[in-house]
């Protein structure tokens, strides 16, 4: 399982990258953390002619908060997401997601930009950024472009990135004291891709009423699936058992999962309902829980 003969070039700035991309065109493949790309190369499943290493481009690094928006550079490693104080404060969902991604050695290399660009339907981070209502900052020789995360994932392993675009950063709107988020998944073993997972974010006001719920499932479709009808079943309602049941029921129309090695579509639907209950029930008021 040796990688096929291939070229390698390193870009240390965006300008250098644009030059290399212009030179090699479609034969070039970007290399960030490489944790997915290099595994697929081992199987000779893809055949790029040259890898363009972007890991030393400073402009793609860094985590900062500006005007209440958390900006996470594309080269931010999963391990950094898990331990960065700004992420923990402004996007705790991502900090919670990091330990679910593979294993420590993978998290030390894999990057958020790489994960989003690869768009594996069972991956955690694409679902998280959709749940958080994030914006993907794409950059190309033509300049910057901002794509809402919801519109970024366009199909199985497909994104809205143009061939000459790369992800520069992810921007995440600030959280409110009423914001609640949670990520849970069912995986065969720790670190495996999930059979089904749910990244959820919503607001709960003082009377327990839900606003702007976003339930985003992964491992159950061709990409992260924003369950619009389940969200609608919650929006504006007091979060109680009945509301959760309504959201679960609405999933029937939100999800059209494929079968995979682990089981049939019915299993994924079933697990999505279970996850919905498990994600939301900790938010129930004490009186509800006691029932």
């Amino acid at each position: 399982m040796k990688w096929p003969a291939i070229g390698y070039a390193r870009a240390t700035s965006l300008d250098e990258l644009w030059r290399l991309q212009a030179e090699h065109g479609a034969a070039a493949q970007l290399l960030a953390g490489g944790q997915t790309l290099l595994a697929t190369l081992a199987f000779r499943l893809s055949d790029p002619k040259i890898l363009l290493d972007i890991t030393r481009i400073a402009a793609l690094r860094g985590i900062a908060v500006q005007d209440g928006v958390l900006r996470i550079g594309a080269l931010t490693r999963h391990a950094e997401l898990g331990r960065d104080p700004l992420v923990a404060q402004h996007a705790p969902l991502l900090a919670e997601a990091a330990p679910l991604i593979a294993h420590p050695a993978i998290r030390n290399r894999g990057t958020i930009g790489g994960s989003l660009a690869y768009a594996d339907p069972a991956a955690e981070l694409p679902a998280c950024v959709v749940a958080l209502g994030a914006t993907i900052v794409a950059v190309s020789p033509r300049g910057e472009r901002r794509v809402p995360a919801e519109a970024f994932f366009t199909g199985l392993l497909q994104t809205a990135l143009a061939p000459d675009e790369i992800i520069a950063a992810v921007e995440i709107p600030g959280t409110q004291p009423t914001t609640r988020s949670r990520i849970i998944e069912v995986a065969r073993r720790s670190g495996d891709y999930a059979m089904a997972g749910l990244a959820a974010r919503l607001s709960l006001n003082a009377e327990g009423r839900v606003t702007s719920p976003r339930l985003v499932f992964f491992g159950v479709g061709s990409g992260p699936v924003l369950a619009a009808r389940a969200g609608a079943a919650l929006d504006g309602w007091v979060l109680d058992s009945a509301a959760i049941a309504a959201a679960q029921a609405a999933l029937a129309e939100d999800l059209d999962p494929p079968a995979d090695m682990h089981g049939p579509p019915e299993m994924k639907r079933h697990l999505a309902r279970v996850l919905t209950f498990r994600a939301l029930s900790p938010l129930l008021r004490a009186s509800e829980v006691a029932e």
Binding site: R189, M195, H262, M267
Partner: protein, 798 residues
């Protein structure tokens, strides 16, 4: 016989008998190199002018090869040569894997690389050799091979039906082997039974996933007409014989060297066509050729195992007494029986082992072994045992439930009594001495059953479903020639050890059994240190070299300690006698009054040191002139050992498994696991314990995760470690191990095998635990692996 002086047996402390090593948890002397990265696995060996092989493997389950065009491959930089089946067949004969004592068994001639037809996806068809593995793979990618795809016979259930694709037309059908064992009057027993319970069990296709893949360097030298093979193997002498025969070499001109091996579990005891092809290529080129299977090709070419569907019936009377078992086993083994052990043995073992722990009179068990277009299956850790145990123990639990009896009580009532031996089982297996009741009693000391049952009840009220399951088992170890030799295979059941003392008083033992990581070299050192009377760190061990070790069978079927260990003990005792004889002459004392303690010859009664082994060594080796002329001074002694009284030394044990089933997700969490096993004399408890744990984890892995999944066309879908799931640390439980010791009386050492007990019992215990958890919900699972989908289906949740 059978009385070894150990500190324990004499009622002494270790301080009183400091070189008593039998039964002592000695750390393995070869561990520091392993944890420091200083081991020498086959892939670490680099030879001058060495080439690397890669194989073009069949993309089809069944296809005629129409053409092979290597022109483009030969242009790839680094590629040296391309070999087809016809090229290899010029120097290498095909083989047929049958054993004469498995009556009616048939298989077809198998070539190292097939001549014109591929019969499973992943079968090596063409070899490319190049100056690096990467270049060889580039060459493989550049090969142009055309096929005429043929219909594939994949489903074992239809393999014998009309219309089946007959994989080898010259055989007439796809039946490789069939055997039925009958004892008593089964139908009458069922007719008279108070309850009859029937179930269908499925044991999934697994593979071994040794972390070190199959690895070989073949180095044929025209200069001395010698083939030297560096190989990760369990059976160096067997491979020596096979390669010599197939390649028309004198056996003595083939040397197999096996340094460190990265796990075997039966995977590395077989003859693999691609490895034989590498040897043939080296024979042709006169250069060393290395082949290290990559993980992708391992999944499609390492042997698979345990692809069985079994229906079973048990009949019991009103008191829970087992009256009869009736079991039908069907297994698919791929397109060829694997050489030379054959692929009929797993099914045969199911017939031998079902019902094993119990006292019952009526037995019928049949196995039907069929060919199919999938990876060949063969012996893999605990051959047949996990299947027989799961079926037996599943039926016993179901019968207990049917009559409302506690599963522990059910077993207590039916297990063979500890004083019932010698005993011949309904399947015809002869047991020298087992300890089912003592083992159960020991298990119940370890498992807090009352607390667990109380917790189980309390948790159920909260919607948490936990279950406790048991599985008793027997295990076949220390095989005699009855396993392979009588069938015509050149597989030695005998093993030898040579023990020598060097001038500095240190001792070297060379043994025909091999180290696969289980600690063989450590126990050999312990046994020899014990037998001679030296500190264990004064013993060095040589294994894994056909030119430098006594002829032997190697490591399989749990024979290392029981067979190889006894040979080592006998030769150590012989060396000690020889040393004492010389010492007696030097000291003018009767050898009978002397002993050896930690490298010093001592007065036996007082323990007073008289002379060191180093001093004896100095005199014998350098001043032999000072000794009497006729004094024998052979400080090298060799003894061989083979079991003679019993075909196999059976062991026994029982496991318990405590699980929680998430009934919403179908996920199973193993909370805790226990095993009590009786492997006879325990030589090193620490090694046995972790080996048992490893075996249990392998069994749990098979029962929870591991599955070689095929589609209907015979495409293997699980070809990466992301798809074929192995057990990892996070999901595996804490495992408690206890021992009962019933030494075999056949040997002085009294050791039987321990390596497969864990794997034998774990799946059955886990299945019973899951079903115990699910029982209030009316769900039962009997199909391994117990995946979330299967559990949710059993619960009618999906």
């Amino acid at each position: 016989m059978n009385e070894i002086r150990t500190a324990d047996s004499l009622g002494l402390s270790r301080e009183d008998l400091p070189n008593s090593y039998i039964g002592r948890s000695v750390p393995r002397p070869n561990l520091p190199k392993l944890v420091q990265g200083r081991a020498t696995y086959t892939d670490d060996v680099v030879l001058p002018r060495m080439l690397h092989a890669a194989f073009y493997r069949s993309p089809h389950a069944h296809a005629r090869i129409l053409s092979i065009d290597s022109a483009a491959a030969m242009l790839v930089p680094g590629v040296v040569r391309v070999f087809t089946g016809a090229d290899i067949a010029k120097v290498c004969d095909p083989w047929v894997a049958v054993l004469a004592h498995l009556k009616g068994m048939k298989s077809a001639p198998q070539y190292a690389l097939p001549l014109d037809r591929a019969t499973w996806q992943g079968e090596a068809l063409v070899a490319v050799v190049a100056d690096s593995r990467a270049a060889a793979e580039d060459g493989v990618a550049a090969l142009e091979v055309t096929f005429d795809p043929l219909p594939a016979q994949t489903d074992m259930a239809t393999a014998l039906a009309p219309g089946a694709v007959v994989i080898h037309p010259e055989l007439g059908d796809n039946l490789a082997f069939q055997r039925t064992a009958v004892q008593g009057d089964v139908e009458a027993a069922f007719a008279s039974a108070h309850k009859v319970v029937e179930a269908r069990f499925v044991s999934a296709r697994h593979t071994g996933v040794t972390l070190e893949p199959r690895s070989i360097i073949a180095d044929f030298s025209r200069a001395d007409d010698t083939l030297t093979v560096h190989l990760a193997t369990q059976a160096p002498h067997m491979i020596q014989s096979v390669l010599a025969t197939q390649l028309h070499l004198e056996e003595g001109r083939v040397r197999v060297i096996c340094k460190d091996v990265g796990g075997s579990f039966g995977i590395k005891v077989h003859v693999y066509p691609d490895e034989v092809a590498v040897a043939a290529i080296s024979r042709i080129l006169g250069r060393p050729v290395k082949f290290i299977a990559d993980r992708f090709e391992s999944f499609g070419s390492d042997i698979h195992a345990r692809d069985h569907v079994i229906t079973g019936r048990i009949g019991v009377d009103a008191q829970g007494k087992i009256l009869a078992f009736d079991i039908d086993d069907l297994t698919g083994i791929g397109p060829y029986s694997v050489y030379p052990r054959t692929s009929a043995v797993e099914g045969n073992q199911v017939v031998n082992l079902c019902g094993g722990p119990y006292d019952f009179a009526n037995y019928r068990c049949s196995t039907t072994v069929v060919l199919q277009n999938k990876v060949p299956t063969c012996q893999y850790r605990a051959v047949g045992h996990p299947i027989a145990t799961a079926v037996t123990e599943g039926l016993v639990d179901m019968a207990a439930h049917a009559i409302g009896m506690d599963p522990i009580e059910m077993r207590r009532r039916n297990m063979l009594r500890d004083d019932a031996y010698p005993y011949t089982s309904p399947a015809g297996m002869r047991f020298e001495g087992l300890s089912h009741h003592a083992s159960l009693a020991k298990l119940l000391e370890l498992v807090p059953v009352d607390r667990i049952r109380a917790d189980q009840t309390a948790k159920r009220h909260k919607g948490v479903y936990r279950g406790l399951g048991f599985a008793a088992f027997i295990e076949l170890t220390n095989p005699s020639p009855f396993m392979y030799g009588i069938g015509g295979a050149r597989i030695s059941a005998q093993d030898g050890a040579t023990v020598r003392m060097d001038p500095d008083g240190s001792v070297v033992v060379a043994s025909g059994v091999t180290e696969q990581g289980q600690g063989t070299e450590t126990i050999l050192a312990q046994i020899v240190a014990h037998g001679v009377g030296v500190a264990v760190n004064k013993v060095r061990v040589v294994t894994g070299d056909t030119q430098n070790t006594p002829y032997g069978g190697g490591t399989w079927a749990c024979r290392g300690a029981g067979i190889g260990g006894e040979a080592a003990l006998q030769s150590a005792i012989a060396l000690k006698d020889q040393i004492l004889h010389v010492a007696g002459t030097m000291l003018q004392a009767s050898p009978a009054t002397l002993d050896i303690m930690l490298g010093e010859v001592v007065d036996k009664t007082t323990g007073t040191p008289r002379i060191s082994l180093a001093e004896i060594g100095r005199v014998v080796y350098f001043r032999g002139d000072t000794l009497p002329k006729d004094l024998p001074r052979e400080f090298v002694q060799t003894r061989h050992y083979i079991t003679k009284e019993y075909p196999f030394a059976f062991t026994n044990g029982i496991q318990a498994c405590w699980v929680e089933v998430d009934t919403a997700t179908g996920m199973v969490k193993v909370l805790e696991h226990w095993c009590v096993e009786d492997c006879g004399r325990v030589i090193n408890p620490m090694l046995v314990d972790e080996q048992v744990r490893g075996g249990i984890v392998q069994g749990l892995g098979g029962a929870l995760y591991e599955h070689c999944v095929y589609d209907e066309q015979g495409n293997l879908l699980t070809t990466t470690m992301a798809d074929y799931l192995v057990p990892m640390a996070a999901e595996m439980p804490e495992i408690h191990v206890g021992h009962v010791e019933t030494p075999t009386k056949e040997s002085l050492l009294g050791a039987k095998g321990a390596g497969e007990a864990g794997t034998a019992g774990a799946p059955g215990a886990l299945m019973n635990a899951i079903n115990d958890a699910l029982r209030p919900l009316g769900a039962v699972v009997t199909e391994q692996p117990f995946t979330p989908a299967r559990i949710l289906r059993a619960l009618d949740a999906i």
